[in-house]
């Protein structure tokens, strides 16, 4: 089949050393990108260069390397700010990842806004990272934890969401893209609805950050969290964007070095944004790797990547539909590059083991989103998720493997 590709896929694949290996003596097919993406050479080299030549602790040294490191680190913050179009780099907090960002918010924003009898609203399709921190906050504060339902197609029930907003929750926190169903939620609309009541909205962008161009000003979200490792950057770095007015009002989350201004035995005053939320030595090499990943994505082009991934997903859906007994979990109108499915009564773990033996990495299980499994009454799913380096040929290999597993297990 001839397809018009928006960029040279073979050249892109050459940038990712991990793709070029045999697994169980078979060419490696990596379709677990919603869990983490592989890293391009530029990112790996950036991390290496930091430790080989530049390593020093930033923000406090007067010596040459420390100053160079500080400049590089703060430039990376500006790169992130530009990437998501935030007004200022003061709105960019570096964290360990999306989970860390969410815990920061549940603790700090929770402290600021949520009291006994208040409520917090999430949806039934959240990853545990955007579910459990809020749930536990509500338990601690004796607040109500509100969960907007999802429809049979795997979309947020907007009527239910609107109904719950009328209870005037103090915080709304929603996934941009479901890591299980692939659903792209209509967050523009959901944010607008919450803002009618002046409720701040947190967006879990873990799955959307490498799926589409993010513009936090256009979205008008109050917070946006994402992880580096799901967008071709190193593990251990994430970002929390927050509107300055909120970040200014929020109390610090963790205490320690860098985040303080003055410390005496009697009292401590805290540093300005963004440092107020960055206690301890940051993961500098990972932040610089994140900057390289952003440059890499922007060189190829966000729009081109999104267009190509959409072609992949349409092709995968069409090919998987050939498998006898297949049932897609979630049939959203707007889908990111994630497909969850089951085949007849076959346990996803069984199928996953056979597909693994054929050299293909997919994910099986509940994907850290047990409320979705409960909603659909299933133990788990098989999930394939795609990145810019996947190919149509890999989808063919994957579909053949799914068919083989189905034959062996039925």
């Amino acid at each position: 089949m001839e397809k018009k590709l928006p960029f040279d896929i073979r050249a892109v694949r050459l940038q990712f050393p991990a793709l070029d290996q045999l697994v169980y003596n078979k060419p490696f097919v990596y379709l677990d990108n919603a869990a983490t993406t592989q890293k391009p050479r530029v990112v790996i080299d950036r991390v290496k260069a930091w430790y080989e030549l530049e390593n020093s602790n930033i923000h406090r040294g007067v010596h040459y390397l420390s100053q160079q490191g500080t400049i590089a680190f703060e430039n990376a913050r500006q790169t992130v700010a530009n990437f998501i179009n935030s007004k200022s780099s003061r709105e960019i907090i570096f964290t360990k990842g999306t989970t860390d960002s969410m815990n920061l918010l549940a603790s700090s924003l929770g402290k600021l806004l949520v009291k006994e009898g208040d409520s917090v609203l999430v949806t039934g399709m959240e990853h545990h990272s955007n579910f459990v921190p809020w749930q536990q906050l509500c338990v601690e504060r004796k607040a109500n934890f509100l969960v907007a339902g999802i429809t049979e197609n795997g979309e947020v029930d907007l009527d239910h969401y609107t109904e719950l907003l009328e209870k005037k929750p103090k915080i709304v926190s929603i996934a941009h893209v479901s890591n299980v169903l692939g659903t792209i939620n209509p967050i523009e609309e959901m944010i607008r609805l919450a803002h009618v009541y002046d409720i701040p909205v947190v967006i879990d962008g873990a799955q959307s950050i490498c799926n589409q161009k993010i513009d936090v000003q256009a979205l008008d979200c109050d917070f946006f969290a994402f992880s580096g490792h799901k967008m071709y950057a190193p593990m251990g770095v994430g970002v929390l964007f927050g509107k300055e007015k909120w970040l200014d009002a929020m109390p610090p989350y963790q205490f320690g070095g860098e985040m303080v201004n003055q410390v005496s035995i009697d009292e401590t005053s805290f540093n300005v944004l963004p440092f107020k939320f960055e206690a301890g030595t940051p993961n500098v090499s990972a932040v610089l790797g994140l900057e390289s990943a952003i440059n890499f994505i922007e060189t190829i082009g966000n729009v081109s990547i999104a267009a190509y991934k959409d072609q992949l997903i349409q092709y995968a859906l069409q090919r998987l539909a050939e498998v006898k007994g297949i049932k897609f979990i979630g049939n959203p109108v707007h889908r990111a590059s994630v497909i969850s499915f089951l085949i007849d009564e076959i346990h996803p773990y069984d199928a996953g083991m056979i597909i693994d033996k054929l050299g293909i990495a997919i994910r099986t299980g509940h994907h850290c989103a047990q409320p979705i499994m409960e909603r659909f009454g299933i133990p788990g799913t098989m999930r394939a998720s795609f990145a810019m380096y996947n190919t149509f040929e890999e989808i063919d290999i994957f579909v053949a493997a799914v068919k083989k597993a189905a034959i062996m297990l039925s």
Partner: protein
């Protein structure tokens, strides 16, 4: 047959397979006719939660011999459950406690008992040993009384 003899027998059975697919087909076949646990024991009380696949295990003791029955919701897991039952069920607590599961290494299924697999199998083996220990304790107490 002793535990050691059963293990050798299984190693023999698996030695005829040329590749992983034949091996897995065999496990799947075995998974289909695993000694199913009685319905009354297929409850949360007997559940070993493995995150990915679930295993139910029941043990009984007649004073000399331990009998195990088990089930799993995933058929490959159930095939391995079947092997473990075949090896350990019908033996004294002493015999169960002094034997191990190295036969799984020799038939190339060691990875399924890795702590990272989260399929419930490693916990199942630990649970079987724990039952044996308790039954042994019980038997010794009765002798002392």
């Amino acid at each position: 047959m002793t535990i050691e003899q059963t293990q050798q027998q299984i190693i023999g059975e698996f030695s005829i397979f040329d590749d992983w697919m034949e091996k897995y087909n065999y496990l799947i076949e075995m998974g289909k006719d695993c000694p199913i646990i009685e319905t009354q024991y297929k409850t949360n009380n007997y559940l070993i939660n493995g995150c990915q696949s679930r295993v139910w295990l029941h043990a009984s003791f007649d004073g000399n011999i331990v009998h195990f029955s088990a089930d799993s919701d995933a058929v490959i897991t159930k095939g391995i459950v079947n092997l473990l039952i075949r090896v350990f069920s019908g033996h004294s607590p002493e015999e169960i406690l002094k034997s191990d599961t190295t036969f799984l290494d020799q038939i190339g299924l060691k990875e399924h008992l890795s702590p990272t697999r989260s399929n419930g199998l490693l916990s199942m083996v630990k649970q079987m040993k724990l039952y044996a220990q308790i039954f042994q304790l019980k038997a010794n107490q009765q002798v002392n009384e």
